[in-house]
């Protein structure tokens, strides 16, 4: 926790003037026995806190964490969460980490300020993540911590017993999560009315007794005299709204993808359940009918991609998606989409691979598959979302490209984005929404969908051909009307045509901005969900005297033009990614960048433990042998730039060349 104001113990001068001044720290003596009620103490102001809830998957810690995240969003506090879910159906250890801050929060935090342990194993597995001086709040009915370890503050609360007591017999210990929420609300002086409203909203539509039970559990936690055991309470610095500031909305990455697709006018899709993609299809299945569209649960992954291609063929840009194993199954049909130049959005919420791999962990090891998957020269576009907010905007960008270039477009997300909850500025929907329309205008005499010198225009059935000649869509190499050909000349021309449209696309992709130092030192290059930790690492490195910058790629294939000029300016280039270094020692993006730019300066920093990068890990890999002052990473930082989809560029989104696909 970053304490920014007078603490009871130190009575320091107003520290707002000097944010780097030393702070009073939390007492490290274990508070084991009941003490006098300390509720009279003034709460200490903080601007950032990392709270880790550790329990089992059925304890509902995700929903307790989500309430905190939603509350932070509603209080205009920035928030980022991180969670793990076991692959088992019910049970197994699970965590939910919430980082709330008054400034901008980029990563979920390396170490927790506050650890809530439901079980002995939760305590044992996660005490290592608690920072020195941090608070361990544990269920004294289930956990016996090592009180001799003087690094932490110990707060034991009989969570199970008190929950059962508060709710009566039938609920057993269900409701512990809400009890804890009440306790946390007390400790952090959270807005009780807002939290209660969130709880009521969450259970709205269900039996009234459920809402009441939840509120009782909350009240029991809130009413617990925690002041007896914890000598301090905290309060988040109030957020001072800036002029023109937009409301914050809070959602996870899969929700952001689904609603981004809806904003982009995608009304049809098909999928098959697989972790961690499923919630995208669940949302679309229930949401699309409201918009007059349809999402179909297919019999398998091959059926799903084929249905989606049927929707696109019929004139409505469609989406399909999966995780690695399902994408492997869809690969042949995606090749058909490249060949027939059919617009399609394919979402890959990556998990650990290969094969069934690590179903609930995170990895960025499907980049090669997205770019090269399938046989033959089959060009496609690959985009990678960097944050939850970016999941929303990248769906819009994917739809724009798919329509304009009549091409399959991959969106790479991953487990960490899918399960992470973030608050972000509410998008200006009225400028973003696209209404899909079928272009059934009769096509003129001599119309050729696959004209060699033009970008393909797929024509939806129902549009009359005024010369009476109707086009075909084919997986065979074809002529300009789609009819099969074995002509060597045509195969060369058509292969070039399909590749050249991606070169044309590369021309319009903005060169990403560099965060931090613009030249000289080390450039950290990343893609996807590593955005936050990489930027935090650069920030920390610079504060420790390193010259460093960060370059994050949203358009991974084709790459934007002009990267070579950026690379030339730096002494070192280190590509940071969550995949294996491969037999030649380079991660997947590093391999592609080296092949593309023949740049021997490009190094690779990879890892495959199935967990998100910690800031510390990145620094250790990039600046080997250097140790960095273990200072708190400052929260203020750069705004995420959605180049191309930033509100000021929104107009260009609507300039979609009519391709016949709405």
């Amino acid at each position: 926790m970053n304490e920014t104001s007078t603490s009871v113990e130190t009575d320091a001068p107003n520290s707002k003037d000097d944010p780097t001044a030393p702070r009073g720290s939390i007492a490290t003596a274990p508070s084991t026995g009941p003490a006098s009620d300390r509720a009279d103490l003034r709460p200490e102001n903080i601007n950032d806190a990392v709270i880790r809830l550790a329990g089992d998957s059925q304890d509902g810690i995700q929903s307790a964490g989500a309430f905190l995240a939603r509350l932070a969003g509603r209080s205009a506090q920035d928030v980022m969460t991180y969670m793990t879910i076991p692959a088992t159906i019910s049970g197994g250890p699970s965590i939910f980490q919430v980082r709330m801050g008054t400034g901008e929060v980029l990563s979920a935090g390396d170490e927790a300020d506050f650890l809530v342990a439901f079980y002995q194993h939760s305590y044992q597995d996660h005490i290592g993540c608690l920072k020195e001086g941090g608070v361990l709040l544990y269920d004294s009915d289930n956990v016996a911590p090592d009180l001799d370890d003087k690094r932490f503050v110990y707060v034991g609360v009989p969570i199970t017993g008190l929950t059962v007591e508060a709710l009566g017999g039938t609920a057993k210990d269900k409701g512990k999560n809400i009890f804890i929420l009440g306790l946390i609300a007390k400790i952090f002086h959270l807005d009780v009315d807002k939290l209660k409203a969130l709880i009521t909203e969450k259970f709205a539509g269900k039996d009234e007794s459920i809402v009441n039970t939840a509120l009782m559990a909350f009240q029991a936690g809130y009413g617990y005299p925690v002041g007896n055991v914890l000598t301090k309470q905290y309060r988040f610095e109030p957020h001072v709204p800036k002029e023109g500031e937009r409301a914050q909305i809070t959602m996870d990455g899969n929700q952001a993808l689904a609603y981004g697709l809806i904003a982009a006018g995608v009304r049809f899709g098909a999928g098959y359940p697989i972790t961690p993609w499923s919630s995208v299809m669940e949302i679309l299945r229930s949401e699309l009918p409201k918009y007059g569209g349809l999402f179909v649960q297919a019999e398998d992954e091959l059926g799903a991609v084929s249905l989606a291609l049927g929707f696109s063929f019929s004139g409505y840009l469609a989406v399909t998606g999966s995780a690695g194993p399902g994408i492997s199954l869809k690969t042949e049909a995606i090749g058909w989409a490249s060949m027939s130049e059919m617009p399609l959005i394919i979402i890959n919420v990556q998990r650990g691979g290969p094969s069934t791999g690590l179903p609930t962990n995170v990895e960025q090891s499907d980049l090669f598959q997205a770019i090269f998957g399938g046989h033959g020269d089959s060009p496609r576009v690959v985009l990678a979302a960097s944050t939850v907010e970016d999941c929303f905007y990248i769906a819009i960008e994917a739809a724009r490209i798919a329509r304009k270039y009549s091409t399959p477009v991959f969106i790479l997300s991953d487990t960490s984005l899918a399960t992470r909850i973030e608050a972000f500025d509410e998008p200006e929907l009225k400028d973003l929404m696209i209404d899909p329309t079928l272009d059934l205008t009769p096509r003129p005499v001599g119309f050729k969908p696959y004209a060699v010198d033009q970008i393909t225009q797929h024509v939806p059935p129902g549009a009359r051909m005024l010369d009476g000649k109707y086009p075909l869509v084919s997986g065979l190499e074809h002529d300009e009307m789609g009819h099969p050909t074995g002509s060597p000349k045509l195969h060369m021309a058509m292969t070039a045509k399909r590749r050249n449209k991606l070169r044309q696309l590369a021309e319009e992709i903005p060169v990403p901005e560099i965060y931090g130092d613009q030249d000289g030192g080390t450039l950290l290059v990343g893609w996807g969900s590593t955005y936050g930790p990489i930027h935090d690492a650069v920030k920390l490195a610079r504060e420790n005297g390193e010259k460093a910058g960060a370059l994050h790629l949203r358009h991974v294939h084709p790459l934007p033009n002009g990267l070579e000029k950026i690379f030339a300016r730096f002494k070192r280039i280190v590509v940071v990614e969550m995949n294996d270094q491969g037999i030649y020692g380079f991660g997947q993006l590093a391999t592609i960048l080296r092949a593309r730019f023949c740049e021997p300066k490009i190094e690779s920093a990879t890892k495959t433990d199935g967990l998100t990068f910690r800031v510390k890990e990145i620094l250790e890999r990039v600046f080997e042998g250097r140790s960095f002052a273990a200072r708190k990473i400052p929260r203020e930082g750069l705004a995420i730039v959605h180049t191309g989809t930033a509100p000021e560029n929104v107009k260009s989104l609507k300039e979609v060349v009519p391709q016949g696909v709405g």
């Binding site: 909305i249 409201k290 059926g303 084929s306 042949e332 059934l440 205008t441 129902g462 084919s474 997986g475």
Partner: protein
């Protein structure tokens, strides 16, 4: 979501032309490339019957969609001048389902062979049937893989000698009628490529049926399995036995006739030894996926008060604040 035409520059003339009276749709207008099939292939007759039906019914040219997977017979879309797609092996049923579900205004016809339908595409066939998507699927069954030059197919009879079963096929063949009936296809019929009039009747009944309608057509591969269907060809000394459907004329003989809505009776007909009987085995009017999904869309939108897309998404986002 609007389905109106997007106006584009200079479309005034085009629109006028689009609304101009249509010329009669002739066989010539719907004929495209010359078929690549071997001389004598049964599939020629299927193509001719398809042209006949389109001509007879005078469908809107731009609303005919001809689809196929992979195989000799799946070359079909190239020989038809109309919208069409030649998809990947075995997956044409879900492709066709997507088109049918998104565009109820189109006539969706799907053509394929026994390998495409019963082997590599078997799962999709079953689920397309189960979901009862509204489309017509014509399977040209020749009991052999022809495009790859004589390998055993899922419908090859036991003992059939092929390049992959040089001493004769040993695996139990698929019984298409039994499989389709049990999978839930709501229209199941069988015909023979030498019986063009019967074939046309079947295509017409299939396209008029609301739901997943499948026709299995015995279509001889003269190259790799000649004479396979002679037992059902009167000109080759066989017998083309038609299913005697109920006429509901209150006569005593009507009692013995086949009730196409009787699933068990259909199943019994499907068990008859080769060459079996021809005609409509089963027909049911259970609701299509198209209709059920549409009903869900309509009631959902009505419940919400038919909001605009922007209103809907804004409301959702307001709840996430």
């Amino acid at each position: 979501m609007s389905t109106e035409n997007t106006p584009t520059n200079g479309s005034t003339t085009a629109t006028a032309l689009a609304e101009s009276p249509r010329e009669k749709l002739t066989k010539k207008a719907i004929t495209a490339d010359h078929p690549t099939w071997c001389p004598g292939c049964g599939d020629f007759a299927v193509l001719a019957s398809y042209y006949k039906v389109i001509e007879k019914r005078q469908l809107d040219h731009e609303k005919i969609v001809t689809l196929a997977g992979i195989g000799c017979s799946s070359r079909f879309p190239y020989f038809v001048n109309g919208y069409g797609a030649h998809f990947i092996h075995g997956r044409a049923v879900p492709l066709a389902s997507g088109i049918s579900l998104a565009r109820p205004d189109l006539h969706v016809f799907l053509f394929g062979g026994d390998g495409d339908g019963f082997s590599i595409g078997g799962n999709h066939l079953n689920h397309g049937a189960r979901k009862n998507v509204n489309l017509t699927y014509f399977i040209m069954d020749n009991f052999v893989y022809g495009l790859t030059k004589k390998q055993t197919s899922p419908t090859s009879p036991i003992g059939f000698k092929s390049k992959t079963d040089p001493t004769g096929a040993i695996d139990q063949p698929v019984n298409p009628m039994k499989q389709l009936i049990s999978a839930g296809a709501s229209f199941v019929a069988r015909t023979h490529a030498t019986q063009v009039n019967h074939m046309i009747q079947m295509i017409e009944r299939a396209m008029d049926h609301q739901g997943f309608s499948v026709i299995e057509c015995l279509s001889e591969c003269v190259e790799f399995f000649p004479g396979a269907f002679d037992p059902a060809n009167p000109r080759k000394g066989g017998a083309f036995s038609l299913i005697d459907e109920k006429k509901y004329d209150n006569t005593p003989e009507d009692e013995l006739r086949h009730d196409v809505t009787d699933e068990l009776a259909a199943y019994k007909l499907a068990q008859l030894p080769f060459p079996g009987v021809f005609g409509v085995f089963y027909e049911s009017d259970r609701p299509t996926k198209n209709a059920l999904e549409k009903k869900w869309i309509d009631t959902t939108r009505e419940k919400l008060g038919n909001p605009t897309d922007l209103q809907l998404l804004q409301k959702t986002f307001d709840r996430m604040k």
